[in-house]
Symmetry: C2
Subunit: 388 residues, 2 copies
């Protein structure tokens, strides 16, 4: 193929637009996750020509024929990232190449056009440099905007085929903080997320499927079970897999358990990224594993009880056994949108497991460490500084 | 909920539009499956208000925010049907309530709004009555248009949630005949479809998943394997399931095998619609089973060799054994878009199975029977007459 590659250096930024006021933090649209900033980057692609010049355009509707491949066949993928305003007044991304490489893999998985991940990263940096300052002024240290790169097939042929036309959009929206996202139940203080396990006839991801890719099809199919969870007063589904009820994800986030092993050693455990592709390879997941290994594995560094960090398949039966034995120490879900949130309750086959929260300082320390990195309190190679 | 139900009687047909010329049968757009008729039905839905009045509007692009739920989370489903111009000059649908009920089930599966299937059918009849006469004049007996009811979530919240806004579109496009769809390879006459079995690490549908629903997410995930098949010179993937390589579907159509059993009896066999939800409940599939039972089960009625019609799980090993034993009689794929097409070749783990075509008259007789029903050559309760 000699079609044009995605080329961030050709970005055109001269399209006129009408600035909107920054919405009040309490506005309904903001809480509804509908408030985008003024402009987005749009890049069209055709099989014949490759990637067109990227353009900064006003944020607004796309014109899509009802036959568009994304609307019919879910040829679509996305990423979730944040841009953070640091306490030093600088804007930062968090390990953004990981997301850009994952989006490359997601695109490939549903036969969307690919690109150099580095070019995507440069476009993300540019839209942040253009749009973030107004919405995240230096005076608002400790705040963030959510970035949603979205790639959809616009090919208007109704045939079941690899799409010949696509469109990449990169836009920024407000996302409420996790505290806002988990309101207290019945007026009580929230005591961690409430999870209910998926039923055996509802499977989110399966070996040979697409669970490891960030594609639309993984989400729509999970909403029926998600709706049941919400109706029952739960925050998220704890997705199990297989007859032995293996733990996979909570809602659309990765999940970690903390317990004492039979030998009495503290352990942080999460499901592995194996060839079955059941688990999304989360950026926060990876970072939590690496940080926890660095911070907790050796004995009592910094006052933390020593703790192993393990990736292996584990099951609901193991969690229930640990709970009965009094060995369950905590559980937390991690993701870009939802940060690092403790789980307070799991309901499984009508049995409630009350998961301890704040029993050990490890989760809070991990949250603080990630926060310090993204808001520039400590130096880290994981922070990607944006030049405004 | 006291929100408004879908109500076909409230259809508004007064929107102005510019008639387009009917494309030439040889036009590139027609072959590309991009040629819609002048108008479509559009019905908007919100959780608060329910279904708005259906409207006939010019066929054209929808304005969708990049955050639209269908573009992000594949909250989308569709149907595939045809309207046929009969030899008696009448327009007919084929068992359309089956499709309308299936669309209800697909919508429910991805938390889209539901409706009375009968109301959807009435809307389909109306758009056919308005649009089909120009494109399928009575002089063109034996021709058809493809109908694509499409339901997408337009909700612009980026949150992972049951959508609050959706849009139903019903439009008609040209679809090439199966002869056009399966061009000859290397100039030779087509001798049936060429299939290649899916690899073990590519799974289209899985127990507890969505294989039985007609939702976008089932299709995008299958394109990677489909593209490999096309590159290898095949028409479709023969989707297998599980370590024992069970036969499920061919491309996005149901599939039947014909063989002699060990006892020497002719058998038509297809995979069952069981609780695993691996198989799409096709309208043509069901009709072929019912017709074959009616036409072939008793001994030598109408000159056909008696034949059992069986729905059970079967495997590639069984097909390979029947082939080696000389018991393989034929194979065919069935679907609305692709009609009833014989398979000429299966490649499995680099071994080729040459499947006999036209060895028995049963497949041709089934194809003729369905054709006679949809084109009004014989009377049938399965034909749904449209009043123009």
């Amino acid at each position: 193929m000699c079609s044009a590659p995605l080329d961030a250096s050709r970005l055109r930024t001269d399209a006129p637009y009408t600035p909107k006021p920054v919405p009040d933090i309490a506005s309904a649209d903001l809480a509804a996750l509908k408030s985008a900033t003024d402009r987005m980057i749009q890049v069209n692609w055709t099989a014949a020509q490759g990637w067109a010049d990227p353009e900064v355009v006003p944020y607004g509707p796309l014109a899509l024929l009802p036959t568009a491949s994304a609307l019919q066949y879910a040829t679509e993928c996305f990423e979730g990232m944040k841009v953070y305003r640091g306490h030093d007044g600088r804007l930062r991304l968090f390990r953004p190449m990981y997301n850009c490489e994952r989006m490359y893999n997601s695109a490939k998985r549903v036969t969307l056009p690919t690109f150099e991940p580095e070019q995507l990263l440069q476009l993300i940096r540019k839209i942040c440099a253009l749009e973030a300052p107004k919405w995240l002024p230096p005076s608002q240290a400790g705040s963030a905007l959510y970035i949603r790169p979205t790639l959809i097939a616009t090919d208007s042929s109704l045939g079941f085929k690899v799409p010949d036309e696509a469109c990449l959009c990169i836009f920024l929206i407000y996302w409420p903080t996790p505290q806002q996202a988990t309101p207290a139940l019945n007026g009580a203080e929230p005591k961690g997320m409430r999870l209910i396990t998926s039923s055996e006839d509802a499977v989110r991801a399966w070996p040979g499927g697409t669970g490891a890719a960030k594609i639309g099809g993984n989400y729509g199919l999970a909403l029926q079970e998600h709706a049941r969870a919400k109706e029952g007063g739960y925050d998220q589904v704890l997705w199990l897999y297989g007859p032995d009820r293996q733990i996979t994800e909570a809602g659309s986030t990765n999940v970690f358990i903390m317990w004492k092993t039979q030998s009495g050693r503290l352990e942080i455990l999460t499901s592995p990224l194996d060839e079955r592709s059941l688990i999304l390879a989360g950026n926060t997941r990876r970072s939590v594993i690496e940080l926890a290994r660095d911070m907790f594995v050796e004995k009592n560094i910094g006052g933390f009880e020593a703790c192993d960090v393990v990736e292996r398949v584990f099951t609901m039966a193991e969690i229930e056994k640990a709970n009965l034995d009094g060995r369950l120490v905590g559980m937390f879900a991690v993701g870009t949108a939802f940060w690092i949130q403790e789980v307070g309750k799991i309901t499984h086959e009508e049995r409630d497991i009350h998961v301890p929260t704040n029993r050990v300082p490890h989760v809070g320390a991990l949250r603080q460490k990630v926060s310090d990195i993204v808001y520039g309190v400590c130096q880290s190679e994981w922070a990607d500084l944006i030049t405004e």
